[in-house]
């Protein structure tokens, strides 16, 4: 799955820069309006061009920021026109932007997928990039192209070339089979990582996306497993026979913070991924669980019912200076620190379960969802979206959703079966 970036030496790039002083550009980072119409016609040069353009359009639609048009119903263009489109024609089509490109065989057997973003109104190229991929990986190049467009127009970091690991749920509620599954964040390349013999929950990516931690009921007890995505090999993270759960990696990937329950008391511990004795971080009577590191690795947010109800607390990575940050009424659970460091997403329990965010220091609370039971938030790597699962009342299956942090509707994630406990991967390299 290695992708090599090739900077295209298109003469247009220089021409576009030279035009900067002509007039204010219509489309600049951060200023994009919702529903900006973007034409995504079929890329010329290869039979898969239509599929590549379909994936790009679908990715752009999923951001909620754009109204992609095409590839169906749009005129075709030549490879030569990809970097030099007929702007007046696209202006007449009523679109603000155009995503063009081409697909070309390379001498090494791979293909180059070229991607251009044009400001149709201003008549200039805003960004271009080529991606060299093997034939099976063309979807990766399409996601990278969509990320280029999203990033250039929104001013945000890319997030579309990512994966999701989650728990696939099948069967009746009273005898549910739960399997760890992984897929691209658009639902493609779906596969199961566990066979469903043991009940599994809460798979979570490592910071580099190459490993997982998850909980499996082994010998009837919840145990934390460390799983290697490439090889499928796995091992128990904590020796002995303790009840362990709620694992998450540290930002450098070298340790895992988790909960251990013993004698009616649950505390938070941290352990090296290489083994060794876990180090205890909390000792208050009560249930201390759902720990999540800050992106700088210096702090941990967690939930505790030490005050009588579930509330959010922050402490130093060594367990020092534990202090409550949730004061909004109701119960707060399953916090997760945003990749940008400034926010914490959580599950709020006040009758229904809802996903919300608050400032990392507390305060500034905003509720993002309105389901009956929404829980288990996980951040997109750019901090602009939160994925979670929504459980319906009664016997139905839970499903995965993603919601924009700055307002907008939650959209359902395309999973082949019911799903819970999503974890959004870092950006693929």
């Amino acid at each position: 799955m290695r992708l090599i970036f090739t900077v295209l030496l298109a003469g247009l790039a220089g021409a576009a820069v030279a035009q900067d002083t002509q007039e204010p550009p219509e489309l600049v980072g951060g200023s994009v309006r919702t529903n900006t119409a973007i034409a995504v016609p079929v890329m010329p040069g290869n039979m898969i061009g239509r599929q590549v353009s379909e994936v790009i359009a679908s990715d752009l639609r999923s951001t909620g920021l754009f109204t992609p048009i095409g590839p169906g119903g749009l005129p075709s263009y030549s490879v030569e026109e990809a970097g030099n489109p007929a702007y007046p024609n696209w202006r007449n089509a009523g679109v603000a932007a155009l995503v063009s490109g081409y697909i070309e065989q390379r001498p090494d057997g791979r293909m180059t997928i070229a991607c251009y973003l044009h400001d149709v109104t201003a008549g200039r190229t805003l960004a271009n990039q080529g991606f060299a991929v093997s034939g099976n990986d063309w979807r990766r190049a399409a996601h990278k192209c969509a990320d280029l467009v999203y990033s250039r127009l929104s001013g945000q970091q890319p997030f579309l070339d990512t994966r999701v690991v989650y728990v696939a749920e099948t069967g009746p509620k009273t005898n549910r089979q739960k399997r760890v599954a992984i897929m691209d964040s658009d639902g493609s390349n779906h596969r199961y990582l566990t066979i469903g013999r043991n009940t599994v929950v809460t798979p979570r990516f490592s910071p580099r996306g190459d490993k997982l931690v998850y909980v499996s009921h082994i010998g009837r007890r919840p145990r934390v497993l460390l799983y290697d995505v490439a090889s499928g090999s796995e091992r128990l993270l904590i020796p002995g026979n303790h009840i362990t759960f709620a694992p998450r990696f540290s930002p450098n990937g070298r340790s895992v913070v988790f909960s251990m329950a013993n004698g009616g008391n649950t505390d938070i511990y941290v352990v090296s991924v290489d083994g060794g004795e876990p180090r205890r971080l909390t000792s208050a009577p009560g249930a201390d669980t759902s720990p999540s590191f800050s992106p700088d690795g210096r702090q941990i947010v967690f939930e505790s019912d030490r005050s009588g109800t579930q509330q959010l607390y922050v402490m130093g990575a060594d367990g020092s200076n534990q202090r409550r940050i949730s004061f909004g009424g109701g119960r707060y659970a399953s916090p997760i620190w945003s990749p940008t460091g400034n926010l914490i997403a959580f599950t709020k329990i006040a009758g229904p379960f809802r996903i919300g965010v608050m400032n990392a220091g507390g305060g500034g609370e905003r509720i993002l969802t309105n389901g009956w039971q929404d829980e288990g938030p996980s951040w997109a790597p750019n901090g602009q979206f939160v994925m979670f699962h929504r459980t319906p009342q009664g016997a139905g299956a839970a499903r995965l959703y993603a919601v924009p942090v700055n307002g907008g509707n939650a959209r359902i994630m395309p999973t082949p079966v019911g799903g819970s406990d999503p974890s959004w991967s870092p950006l693929n390299n």
């Binding site: 009273t174 009940t199 020796p239 939930e303 399953s334």
Partner: protein, 173 residues
């Protein structure tokens, strides 16, 4: 060596003496290992699977009345009915000294997943402590939590949730 035997025999005598007035008389013959011996430091997740024993489970239910006790919302205290059930379970366990039990806590769906793992352990631990207080040796009991992963009632209403907030005594040998 002699000292150890002496201490052991004294302990045995004390145990027998202390229990002499109870019926049925306890059999304090040391039991062999009750699960396959495993390396406690093993990291192979498939090295051990503890399985239920259906015939003994049915006998426990028949003689003790139930293998299950129930809890209030977000509670883990034992009410009188639960204590009576556990006392009957303890008598059965004392009468069947060769078995071990897994005390398994469960929660309803109206809690978050990880909190419910902790809550299930609290419930199982409360039941375990009561069984121990009735004379069941700690060494014969293990505690686990299923959180909200194994509901017995699938509705989303108070009646279903009340059935799912439970601790089950599962005979494992």
């Amino acid at each position: 060596m002699n000292k150890h035997i002496l201490i052991g025999m004294t302990a045995l005598a004390l145990t027998l003496g202390a229990c002499a007035k109870r019926t049925p008389p306890p059999e304090t013959v040391p039991q062999g290992p009750v699960t396959p011996p495993t390396d406690p430091n093993s990291t192979d997740p498939n090295s051990l699977e503890v399985v239920e024993l259906p015939a003994l489970q049915a006998d426990l239910v028949a003689k003790a009345g139930s293998d299950t006790i129930y809890f209030g919302t977000d509670e883990y205290s034992l009410d009188q009915a639960s204590q009576a059930t556990l006392a009957a379970q303890a008598r059965w366990l004392m009468a069947n000294p060769n078995v071990r039990a897994s005390i398994e806590g469960h929660a309803d769906e109206r809690g978050t997943r990880e909190y419910n793992q902790a809550l299930g352990e609290r419930r199982a631990n409360a039941a375990r402590d009561f069984l121990v207080s009735q004379g069941v040796p700690t060494s014969r009991l293990v505690v686990t939590s299923w959180g909200k992963e194994r509901p017995v009632a699938q509705g989303s209403n108070e009646e279903a949730w009340a059935q799912n907030r439970r601790a089950v005594t599962v005979i494992i040998r």
